[in-house]
């Protein structure tokens, strides 16, 4: 079954029932939650850096068009070609055109969420191009024909055993057991792909307006290979990724890896500015940047505006107790966790993802850890309000809340009703004081008893006590 943001509940139930996934998720938590906490200890005045980072992102967004124009001018001056794509089909059309113009047959890709958003692999395949994902995680997923389940650790939902099986099936080689052996095996497969590729596609973590550069952080060398070996390099990224200066990027880079994986810096940080110059040792002959809107500019100035600050570190999902239990596929689209619960309805429209903004207890852990201080619970609540206004929530639910509200506005009626409910539930519970099936609250009693009310409300007892 294809994943969809509209089927959160069913997908979440499937995740909860999947024992292997559950143990994989537990490890994720140990690794990234603990990792982030430790990496922050070594950062002097982490709070100040975080304030500065949030400020840089907010300032840029306030004048986004301006910084994008500056970026475009600087990138052109450095010899890059800049393309603007309003939506996914623009992205794919532009990519196919670039490929045709440069006579491209084989493409290598380095991880990029925007290309997932635009289903680039599918489109390029249809256009007759051979596309190979080159991040270890993305490569594994391409073999398994599955989408990523985490924006930083896309394959975190798979166990080593599953990966070993997958390699045996696709590579037809003897089963290797250890992680280094599996990595080596993938590398053997990928090396020829790099050498044969005519075009490399990457994302960009940031675009630097000052210099016209695309900045990419990775832990595997593949990002560097995909952007420098092939004749043509195309960086595909969202318009919100622009940052004014290299100095600003330096600030953000102090946080991104720490919040993402608990590293003080990633293994590779590439700052790519234009194509190869005559005296350069390596680099592509042609360098293109595709600036993707795909719904982002619609968020500017609305209740979703702050979400555009996101630097895709994944900390919010690592710390989200819902994500920790259901994993990324439950969310049904490119962006999982709290950030996805905001981004998915914002980009696809609120009707496409009715459950997502509600699939949170608003516990606030996400906002607490977000390096750029995005108030995720507030954004989720705003989306819920939008859903109610547009009547996208079930009629029964809206009615129940309105009725409760009506009752609560009339203390006398409220007192009578709550007294009746308290008694009824008490009777219904019987001797042991636990309700195993709650009328109108089946969701609750799926996995929990409901402790029975004591039978008299506080208001009743208080009045009686006053009289006595």
């Amino acid at each position: 079954m294809e994943l969809s943001p509209a089927r959160f509940k069913t997908q979440a139930a499937a995740s909860l029932a999947d024992a292997r996934l559950q143990s994989a998720l537990e490890k994720l938590q140990d690794r990234f939650v603990v990792g982030r906490a430790q990496a922050l200890l070594e950062l002097d005045n982490a709070d100040a850096v975080r304030d500065a980072a949030a400020d840089i992102r907010a300032r840029t967004l306030a004048n986004l068009d301006d910084y994008l124009e500056r970026f475009e001018a600087a990138a052109r001056a450095a010899g890059a070609e800049v393309h603007w794509a309003e939506n996914a089909s623009d992205v794919n059309r532009i990519l196919v055109e670039i490929a045709a113009r440069h006579g491209v047959k084989r493409v290598v890709k380095s991880k990029s969420m925007v290309t997932e958003e635009c289903r680039v692999n599918e489109a390029l395949g249809t256009a007759g191009l051979e596309v190979r994902e080159t991040d270890l995680g993305e490569y594994i997923l391409q073999l398994a024909d599955e989408p990523p389940s985490h924006i930083v650790a896309p394959v975190v939902h798979k166990s080593r055993d599953e990966i070993a099986d997958l390699f045996v099936e696709h590579h037809r080689t003897p089963r290797r057991e250890t992680i280094p052996a599996l990595v080596a095996e993938a590398r053997e497969r990928l090396r020829p792909a790099f050498l044969a590729a005519d075009m490399g596609i990457s994302g960009a973590n940031f675009l630097v307006a000052e210099t016209g550069s695309a900045l990419i952080v990775t832990n595997e060398g593949n990002g560097r290979l995909a952007t420098t070996l092939p004749r043509v390099h195309v960086a595909v990224t969202g318009i919100e990724k622009v940052v004014p200066t290299l100095e600003d990027v330096a600030t953000l880079l102090r946080l991104l890896p720490r919040y993402a994986t608990g590293q003080s810096i990633t293994n590779y940080v590439s700052i790519l500015t234009g194509p190869r110059r005559p005296d350069d040792g390596d680099g592509p002959e042609h360098f293109h940047v595709i600036l993707v809107d795909n719904g982002r500019s619609r968020m500017l100035g609305t209740d979703r505006h702050d979400m555009l600050r996101c630097i895709r570190c994944g900390a919010c999902m690592n710390h989200c107790p819902v994500y920790q239990n259901v994993g990324g596929h439950a969310y049904g689209w490119v962006y999982p966790g709290p950030m996805g619960s905001v981004l998915t309805p914002a980009l696809l429209g609120p009707a496409e993802a009715r459950d997502l903004p509600n699939a949170s207890t608003l516990c606030g852990a996400c906002a607490q850890v977000c390096p750029v201080k995005i108030p995720l619970p507030d954004l989720l609540r705003n989306l819920r309000e939008e859903q109610v206004e547009q009547r996208l929530r079930p009629a029964g639910e809206r009615l129940a809340i309105r009725l409760w509200g009506l009752l609560a506005r009339h203390p006398f009626l409220y007192g009578v009703a709550s007294g009746v409910i308290a008694r009824a539930l008490r009777l219904y519970a019987g001797r042991d004081g636990a309700i195993r099936r709650l009328p109108l609250g089946r969701g609750w009693t799926l996995g929990r008893d409901f402790p029975a009310p004591s039978g008299r409300t506080f208001r009743e007892l208080y009045v009686r006590r006053g009289r006595a």
């Binding site: 516990c363 609540r381 859903q387 969701g443 208080y462």
Partner: protein, 244 residues
């Protein structure tokens, strides 16, 4: 000082004892406590479900009910958070300045119970006693909206007979989340399950928290899994000696 106790709809309906326990603690501070009879629900379920209109109507009503108080105390981090942090937001959208001002005034002098009896009107003597080990669960809104962390622990430490053992991930959500627990029953139960595991690991006799919602959720999961020996208690029940 005239202190208004806001009882919360869940306490009123399900476990009134928490309300009386809070009352006892407040009276022990020497405050002049009133419990306005017209109070009902603060509107949080509506607010968090996206029904802003209903939430605003209930917020205005609550502000009217509690208008005569110098301070308002709530035995729940999430309802106190609603009054303190979210009423001002509702006020921003309130077209009538008088109502908006009332919401802001109420917000400014609303306190969560442990906060009030440690910082505002320090409780000189903790009236209760409790024999045995307990573990404390940090309820999300109290912790992250109001910064409630040490207060309840320090109060518990002053109680004769009690020993506090910390559980793993005490700050992780128990899965309650108001209507979330009903809308996403399975996910919510899985979250409660982890919380229960961490509680059981401590060997404590009771889990203590400052929000009845979390307590019902945790207790419900404990009972469903057959752990009948562990109690889920509001800190006010423990401190006031009303637990038994």
């Amino acid at each position: 000082m005239r202190v208004g106790l806001f009882v919360t709809c869940l306490v009123d309906l399900v476990r009134p004892r928490v309300g009386f326990a809070a009352l006892k603690l407040l009276e022990a501070t020497g405050a002049d406590v009133v419990v306005p009879h017209s109070q009902t629900c603060c509107g949080q379920p509506a607010y968090n479900s996206g029904d802003r209109r209903t939430a605003l109507a209930l917020a205005r009503k609550t502000a009217r009910d509690l208008a005569g108080c110098d301070a308002v105390v709530v035995p729940s981090g999430s309802c106190a958070g609603m009054l303190r942090m979210h009423y001002p937001r509702l006020a921003e959208a309130d077209p009538e300045p008088a109502h908006a001002a009332a919401l802001r005034r109420l917000a400014a002098h609303t306190y969560e119970l442990s906060d009030f009896i440690t910082r505002i009107a320090p409780l000189e003597r903790v009236p209760g006693r409790y024999e045995g080990t307990v573990t404390y669960h940090d309820s999300c809104s109290g912790l992250r909206e109001l910064g409630i962390k040490d207060g309840p622990r320090r109060l518990l430490a002053r109680l004769p007979g009690v020993r506090l053992v910390e559980m793993r991930e005490a700050e992780t959500c128990c899965g309650f989340g108001g209507t979330f627990a009903v809308k996403f029953g399975e996910v919510s139960s899985a979250m409660a399950d982890r919380k229960c595991r961490h509680i059981l690991e401590t060997g404590a006799r009771a889990v203590v928290a400052g929000d009845l919602g979390c307590l019902l959720n945790i207790e419900g999961r404990l009972r469903r899994c057959g752990h009948n020996g562990i109690r889920a208690l509001h800190f006010a029940e423990v401190l006031s000696g009303e637990a038994d």
